[in-house]
C-alpha cells in the first residue's frame, strides 16, 4: 500500500483549442481538449490539468464549457488554471466540474486570496502555480508572472513557505528556464523548494527523456506534469509509467476494463 507517483498531462487551451502543433493523427479532432482529455484518461493519466491561456472573456466562457464537457466523461481529478482572480471565479469553475483550481498572478498580487479560497472551499481545491527562474535572490530562484516574462523579485522559496502557511493544498512548480527545452526538469529548483513545501509538489517544465521523470522524483517531486512530450507523442503515458515501474517507483496500473 503505497501512494503512487502521479503523471499529469497539461493541456494549454486558448479559445477552445489545445495550442501548438499537436500531432495526434489517430484522433478525429486533433486539437480538441475534451477528446484529448478522454484519450489521456484512457492511457492512464492520473489527473488532468487545463491551463486557460486565452485572455478574452469569450475564451473564459469557452473554458467553462470545456470543463463541463470533460467532467461529463472523464472521472479523474481535473485541475483548471489561468486568469483566476477571485473566490467567484473559483466557484464558477468548481460548479462547471473542476476538482481543483490553480492560481498564480492573482495570489502574488494579493496573497490573502489563498486564505479566502482555502476557507471557502478547503485547501484541497487550491494549487499554487509557481513560475520560477534562476535569479539573484536568497534561494537563487525568483517568482515570475506573465508566463515567465516578468520578474517579481520575490524569492521562490519564501513564497512557497508563505503560501503553505496561508493554506494552499499543493504546489505546481514550473521552471521557466527548463520550460519547453526537453532538457530535463529543473532538479536544482525542485531540491531547493522541497524542504519548505509541506504539501505535495508537482514538478513541471523540461520533461524530455524517460529518465528525466525519475530524476524529478529523486529530487523530491510527488507528481510530474508534462505537456509537449505527450502532445507530440514522444512518450505515451504508459511508457513513462512502465519506465518508472521498472525503476522501482509506485505507479497506478492501467484501469480495469
Amino acid at each position: 500500500m503505497t501512494l503512487s507517483v502521479r503523471i499529469i498531462p497539461c493541456l494549454d487551451v486558448t479559445d477552445g483549442r489545445v495550442v501548438k502543433g499537436i500531432n495526434f493523427t489517430n484522433l478525429v479532432d486533433a486539437g480538441d481538449p475534451v477528446e484529448m482529455a478522454a484519450l489521456y484518461d484512457l492511457e492512464g493519466a492520473d489527473e488532468l490539468t487545463f491551463l486557460d491561456i486565452s485572455a478574452s472573456s469569450s475564451g473564459r466562457e469557452t473554458t467553462l464549457d470545456i470543463v463541463r464537457k470533460t467532467a461529463e466523461q472523464v472521472f479523474i481529478p481535473l485541475t483548471v488554471g489561468g486568469g483566476i482572480r477571485s473566490v467567484g471565479d473559483v466557484d464558477q469553475l468548481l460548479r462547471a466540474g473542476a476538482d481543483k483550481i490553480s492560481i498564480n498572478t492573482a495570489a502574488i498580487a494579493r496573497p490573502e486570496l489563498i486564505a479566502e479560497i482555502a476557507d471557502k472551499f478547503g485547501s484541497q481545491v487550491l494549487v499554487l502555480s509557481v513560475d520560477a527562474r534562476q535569479a539573484n535572490t536568497d534561494s537563487g530562484f525568483e517568482v515570475t508572472t506573465h508566463g515567465g516574462r516578468e520578474g517579481t523579485g520575490i524569492d521562490a522559496l519564501h513564497w512557497v513557505e508563505k503560501a503553505c502557511q496561508l493554506g494552499v493544498g499543493e504546489i505546481l512548480l514550473n521552471s521557466m528556464d527548463a520550460d519547453g527545452t526537453r532538457a530535463g526538469y529543473d532538479i536544482g529548483m525542485i531540491r531547493a523548494i522541497r524542504p519548505v513545501a509541506s504539501v505535495p509538489l508537482i514538478a513541471s517544465g523540461g520533461a524530455g527523456t524517460l529518465a528525466d521523470f525519475a530524476s524529478a522524483l529523486d529530487a523530491g517531486a510527488d507528481a510530474l506534469l508534462a505537456a509537449s512530450v505527450f502532445h507530440f507523442g514522444i512518450h505515451r503515458i504508459g511508457d513513462v509509467k512502465g519506465y518508472l515501474k521498472g525503476a522501482g517507483y509506485s505507479i497506478r496500473e492501467a484501469s480495469i476494463q
Partner: protein, 202 residues
C-alpha cells in the same frame, strides 16, 4: 432513484455524473422527503470537518442519515461524508476550536495523519477484507484520495485499509451504511465499478 445530499459541500456534479453511469436516476437534493425515500443516499463532503458538519446540521442531514439507518436504507458517505459518521472530528477550526462532534453512528475520532507531507493526495492501493461487497472485482486496485484526517480504528462488518504515514480506514461496510475515505467518483473505471457494486445492492 439515488439522491445525492446537497448540503453545500463540493463539486456535486461529478458525483451525480459518476452515479448516473449506472443507469439510475440521480438527483442532487436537500429535500428531506426525497432523501429519506430514495433507494440510495450519497453523502458527499469536501473541505473541513467542521464546515461540513455545520452544513449537514443546517439541512437536517444528520436526521436523514439516522432515519434511513433505522429503516435499513442504503447510505454511502464519501470523504468527509465518511468522517462525519464518526463521533468526533479532531480537525481544528475557527468555529469550534479543537474538535467537532460528528453524527456519531460509529465510535471513535477522526485524527490527523502522521505524515510529513499533507494532504494525502493521489492514488493509493486499498486492501479490502475478504467478502467485501463494495470491492467485488476490484480487490487490489488504487483509488483517489485527498485528505489529511482519517479514522484509524476498525468499525462496521467489513473494512478496507490503506497506508500513508500510518494505516487507516479507506472504506467501511456496516449493513445499510457504507463509506469511503477516497473519492470513487474521481477514481476512474475502478471507482465507477465500486459505485456499480454499491448500486447493485439497492
Amino acid at each position: 432513484m439515488i439522491a445525492i445530499l446537497d448540503y453545500g459541500s463540493g463539486n456535486l456534479r461529478s458525483a451525480q455524473r459518476a452515479f448516473a453511469t449506472t443507469g439510475e436516476v440521480v438527483e442532487v437534493t436537500s429535500d428531506l422527503a426525497v432523501c429519506l425515500e430514495a433507494d440510495g443516499l450519497v453523502v458527499p463532503g469536501v473541505g473541513a470537518f467542521q464546515s461540513c458538519m455545520s452544513g449537514l446540521l443546517a439541512t437536517h442531514g444528520d436526521e436523514i442519515i439516522r432515519a434511513r439507518l433505522a429503516k435499513d436504507r442504503p447510505t454511502l458517505g464519501i470523504c468527509i461524508g465518511m468522517q462525519i459518521l464518526f463521533e468526533t472530528g479532531l480537525e481544528p477550526s475557527r468555529a469550534s476550536g479543537g474538535s467537532t462532534a460528528g453524527v456519531g453512528i460509529w465510535p471513535g475520532s477522526i485524527s490527523k495523519l502522521t505524515a510529513p507531507i499533507l494532504p494525502h493526495m493521489g492514488w493509493n492501493t486499498v486492501k479490502p477484507d475478504e467478502g467485501s461487497m463494495l470491492f467485488r472485482g476490484i480487490e487490489d486496485q488504487s483509488f483517489y484520495f485527498v485528505h489529511s484526517y482519517a479514522a484509524t480504528e476498525s468499525v462496521g462488518s467489513f473494512q478496507a485499509w490503506t497506508e500513508y504515514g500510518q494505516r487507516f480506514l479507506a472504506a467501511v461496510e456496516d449493513g445499510a451504511l457504507c463509506a469511503t475515505q477516497f473519492h470513487p467518483e474521481k477514481s476512474g473505471a475502478v471507482g465507477l465499478r465500486l459505485i456499480k457494486n454499491w448500486v447493485a445492492t439497492l
